[in-house]
């Protein structure tokens, strides 16, 4: 099929597309891994909250002339560690969290107001602009991603245990608070990365959607981890390809794919148990 090959080749002749694919790879792997634990711990709202807080950090950074990515990272990290320290006290505090979120967005808006390239910057931060990522940013995203994954790998075992059985984990000597702070700091890094692709408002699509679908599709831990990463990467890359051919926004395609796959997963889960459990034993069985 010469035509298709030609167009695919054309796609990769553009530097911005190469950068976009590389950035999507770095970010999607982190999102798939972090998201899996976020869903398992029923803390998906934390991911959403951190991205909103990050918006103020990013716009503030633009205002004082540093890269919005670093403003985002500093702000999400601080908020993540803060949330981890508050821990149980944040439970059932939807109103307080909601107010902090809207204040952060409002503050971000104010910072943008002082900045001249208002509209472009706002859209980029809110909805992402993966096609505008340069090679230097790709490297930053890769290194940050490696740091986040290494940290997650270091705490994965107690994190899994504490997510499933907090009281038992505590009795066995796990510090729930330390673990929570460390995990939310990792989530903060993941969110900061994710914002580069889908923006502040759509972090859920790449960080929660694939992980939630994966946990519907498989009941085994390692299969779930692998599927979560594969779905995040597949949705991000396919979203890029579709955006290239349709000229519609990448973020739209990623959210559409994420939502569509989650829907399939939910509908699939209503099938009788027997048909679904054919996968049976996984890697650790």
């Amino acid at each position: 099929m010469p035509t298709n090959t030609t167009t695919a080749n054309t796609m990769f002749t553009y530097d911005f597309m190469q950068n976009a694919f590389a950035a999507a790879f770095a970010v999607a792997v982190v999102c798939g891994l972090v998201g899996f634990f976020l869903v398992l711990r029923a803390q998906t709202f934390a991911g959403h909250a951190l991205s909103h807080v990050g918006f103020a950090g990013a716009t503030g950074a633009v205002l004082i002339g540093i890269s919005p990515l670093w403003g985002l990272i500093v702000m999400t990290l601080a908020a993540g560690i803060g949330m981890g320290l508050l821990g149980e006290k944040l439970h059932q505090r939807d109103v307080a969290i909601g107010i902090v979120l809207s204040m952060s967005l409002g503050l971000g808006l104010l910072f943008l107001n002082f900045f001249t390239a208002y509209a472009t910057q706002a859209t980029t931060l809110l909805f992402g602009n993966i096609l505008g990522i340069d090679a230097a940013t790709v490297w930053t995203l890769l290194l940050l991603g490696i740091a986040a994954i290494a940290a997650l790998a270091a705490i994965a075992r107690p994190l899994l245990f504490a997510s499933l059985q907090p009281e038992l984990a505590e009795a066995k000597g796990v510090s729930l608070r330390l673990l929570s702070v460390m995990f939310l700091a990792i989530v903060a890094l993941g969110v900061a990365e994710c914002v580069q692709i889908v923006g502040v408002l759509l972090v859920f699509a790449l960080m929660v959607g694939p992980a939630a679908a994966a946990q519907r599709f498989t009941t085994r831990f390692w299969n779930g981890i692998a599927l979560s990463v594969a779905l995040a990467l597949g949705e991000a890359w396919l979203g890029l390809v579709l955006a290239f051919y349709t000229d519609w926004p990448t973020s739209f395609w990623i959210t559409a794919l994420s939502g569509g796959i989650y829907l399939v997963a939910v509908l699939g889960a209503t099938l009788p148990a027997g048909t679904r459990d054919a996968t049976g034993q996984g890697m650790s069985g």
Binding site: E88, A154, R157, P158, L160, L164, K172, T219, R220
Partner: protein, 271 residues
């Protein structure tokens, strides 16, 4: 050697004293039912034995050593959390998360760890049901998985916090019988807290009744009497024995049954 020793132990949260000046000794290889009204300190006492709540006064010794958090010789089954209802993870992975779960690193299991999980599941007859996601297990099946998890590491002391909550009488009986069989086969000590005494009758060696900051430990005949329970409940209690069952009545109400209906489990108090 005794399994648990309390010497002048006072347990408190802030200004609220839950148990005051408790002296008791639980022997090795005993099945002890822990009973008492809501908030009488059943969970608190278990958390103290686990080293999660330092006593305000007095000393606790567990298996001959001063109490310490993370004691591998203690198996613990916390009250079931409703979050597990939604969990899509398999029972096998759920149980296995407890193998060396406190150590840093990736949750990879070697063959010894897998054998340990298989052994624990087999002990509670949960090998087959562990293939299903937790969300698709019944309350009784889930309790067996939790019990398997508590058995990991072959503990010599097992603390079971309200394993009968929200189970029907048939499943209550099977959980009690299974626990009794495990306790005798493995030669371990079990503390089994419950709202109601009757499901435990016939299985337990002694009963530990908590209430009004006091504790009474002894055989059912010694402890479950009007005078002893009146002191623990702080009100006039009649004990009625009928067809091998025991009813703890206050002014014509069955207080244990009432407690069970009002509140499914005392709430965990985190400090």
């Amino acid at each position: 050697m005794s399994a648990i020793e309390f010497a002048g132990v006072t347990l408190a949260f802030g200004t609220r004293t839950v148990l005051a000046d408790i002296d008791l000794t639980i022997r090795d290889n005993e099945f002890v039912g822990v009973l008492g009204p809501n908030g009488s300190g059943k969970t608190t006492m278990m958390r103290a034995i686990l080293g999660l709540l330092p006593p305000r006064r007095g000393a606790i010794r567990v298996l001959g050593k001063p109490v310490a958090r993370g004691n591998p010789a203690i198996g613990y089954m916390p009250q079931m959390r409703s979050a597990l209802d939604q969990l899509r993870l398999s029972g096998w992975d759920f149980v296995a998360s407890g193998v060396n779960g406190h150590r840093w690193g990736l949750p990879l299991l070697g063959s010894a760890a897998r054998r340990e999980v298989a052994w624990a599941l087999e002990r509670v007859q949960a090998t087959d049901l562990a293939r299903r996601p937790l969300a698709e297990t019944s309350g009784g099946e889930r309790q067996r998985l939790l019990l398997a998890q508590a058995l990991l590491g072959r503990p010599r002391l097992l603390l079971l916090d309200e394993p009968l909550i929200s189970l029907d009488p048939h499943h209550q009986r099977s959980v009690v019988e299974l626990t009794r069989a495990l306790q005798q086969d493995l030669g371990i000590t079990v503390l089994f807290s419950a709202h109601e005494l009757n499901p435990l009758l016939g299985a337990l060696d002694r009963v530990l009744y908590l209430g009004h900051r006091h504790a009474a430990l002894g055989t059912v005949e010694e402890v479950v009497t009007g005078p002893v329970l009146s002191r623990l409940y702080g009100s006039e209690i009649d004990v009625v024995r009928l067809n091998g069952r025991i009813f703890v009545m206050s002014g014509g109400h069955d207080v244990e049954r009432d407690a069970h209906q009002h509140d499914h489990g005392e709430h965990h108090v985190h400090v």
